[in-house]
Amino acid sequence: MSLFRICRIAGNTFLEAVRQKFFLFLALIALGLLGSVLYFQRFDFGSSELKFIADFGSGAIVFFGSILSIVMMAQLFFAEIENRTALTILAKPVHRWEFLAGKFCGVAALLGVFILLMIIVLGAFLYYRESQIVAQYAELFQGRRIINYVGLFVFGWTQWLKYCVLISLTLFFASFSNTNLFSVVISFMVLIICQIQYVAIEVVTRMDPSWYTWAVEHVALIFPNFQNYNLLVPMVFSANAGVPWSLAGSVTLFSLVYVLVYLGLAVFSFRRREI
């Protein structure tokens, strides 16, 4: 029953998000940007150009995915609070954690669709250029492919997990903050910390152990290291080596732990929030 209610709330959240112009606008821009990559062909033949296309596509996913994750999660959560639809739904036999889980799943599904769309389009562009290049330099490649397309989808999966972590983090901030803007700003700041926290870790690992290095190492655990999701090369350019499934598995586990922790914190903080 709980699962069913969560699915209904998630479905409703997804529908609300899809019917908003913001999502369609960003999705179209992202796809347009991705499409423009075919005009950048003044590079060396072979993997360099394909690497550029993949990097460009991955960059579009990172940029627009981050914006979508944070803005949509905060916006869809605060729309419920400010429009008082949360009041109506929580006055039904719905647990608060079910409400939060539904919101989370709805936004996660939205990001799933976005990333899937981006990966399919990116894959199509890569296949198109790769086929041209392989045909043009048939002797050099001898029928071998450069891109691992299964790996491309696994890469998409890991990116989706990254955004699930980001969504849960934004939901946690939204669960106690009073304004949409505050949640968005804090979430973007934490996103930056997550992107660059590895620098702090690298610095302290070169220092002599002390309470300071110990503290930095442990505080860093609060913020997931988003460098763990930089998997484009091992996943996509591993046509000969196969997909590194163990790496995908460890990233999945890593993400699951952070999602559960942040969702747990969000539920704890939302438990007694006065609506």
């Binding site: 009041l87 006055a91 647990h95």
Partner: protein, 290 residues
């Protein structure tokens, strides 16, 4: 009808913390009352009197600082206390991108109405609130009156025993208001218990069995509407085509029996009755309850 009260509130106090220093604002203090099954209960009071806070505690949206609140014997902070409760919030906003039918179907699903019954129940409540004609329109295009009616539909779609209506007629014209009053009476006829929060006192008087009046978080009046409004030492006599000399005789008779004649004036109808009789005659009879 059950012997367990629909709502039982005992010694309810609710404080809100204000600002970082944690200053307290007491919204409700030591409130106790019961709402019996299958009655229309009016919760009245000026703005800021604690009505909405009390309702939110009943709905488990707020936790009591002190005291207890039970819904059909289940503490209101438990989610299962809301299984048999429908709620229409004040000035309701619903998901604007859904159609009226999608909205009611969504709430039916959330409330656990089985899939096979969902469509039928949705049609039934849309008919009850007379919204079938607009059920395929997006909620964002509805007028205030339509929003209130679709709000009542979502509140009763799971066939709850207790229906809480917070200002169901706020911003609604007299026709919409009379139509909502008619719906409330129909819900009672179907065996529901209704809690009505409203500033339209004439409407409350017309439909409610019992009332509680709150002021600054305290209960100031509680009882049956008829008992509270009836003047036990005064009798009204209404007559048609009375001659002046007959009136003089009646006056003399009252004086001879030791009574006091208080006045005689042409009878009047209420303005909203006149309005409804001219604009929506079918709703006019809802102004006066048997």
């Amino acid at each position: 009808m059950t012997s367990t009260p629909a709502i039982k509130i005992e010694g309810l106090t609710k404080d809100f913390r204000l600002g970082l220093r944690g200053l307290k604002l007491r919204a409700v203090e030591n409130l106790s009352f019961e709402v019996k099954d299958n009655q229309i209960f009016g919760l009245l009071g000026p703005n800021g009197s604690g009505k909405s806070t009390t309702l939110k505690v009943v709905l488990g949206l707020l936790r009591a600082t002190r005291g207890t609140c039970e819904v059909y014997g289940v503490p209101s902070e438990k989610v299962r206390s809301r299984v048999d409760v429908g709620y229409l919030p004040e000035a309701p906003y619903f998901y604007r991108y859904l159609t009226g039918k999608e909205l009611v179907m969504f709430y039916a699903a959330v409330c656990g109405v089985p899939k096979k019954q969902r469509e039928r129940r949705t049609q039934e409540v849309l008919e009850l609130v007379d919204m079938q004609h607009a059920s395929d329109r997006r909620v964002g295009t509805y007028s205030k009156g339509m929003l209130q009616r679709i709000g009542i539909a979502q509140a009763v779609v799971h066939d709850p025993r207790l229906v809480i209506l917070d200002e169901p007629t706020a911003g609604v014209d007299p026709i919409g208001s009379a139509s909502i009053a008619k719906m409330i009476l129909e819900l009672k006829a179907r065996g529901k218990t209704i809690i009505l929060c409203s500033h339209l006192l004439a409407q409350v008087e017309g439909v409610c069995d019992n009332i509680v009046i709150l002021d600054k978080g305290h209960k100031v009046v509680e009882g049956k509407v008829d008992d509270l409004l009836e003047k036990h030492d005064t009798t009204n006599i209404s007559a048609r085509n009375l001659k002046p000399e007959t009136l003089a005789q009646i006056r003399a008779l009252i004086a001879s029996e030791g009574g006091e004649f208080l006045g005689a004036a042409p009878d009047r109808i209420a303005l909203d009755s006149l309005f409804l009789s001219k604009v929506a005659p079918s709703l006019e009879d809802t102004k006066t309850r048997d």
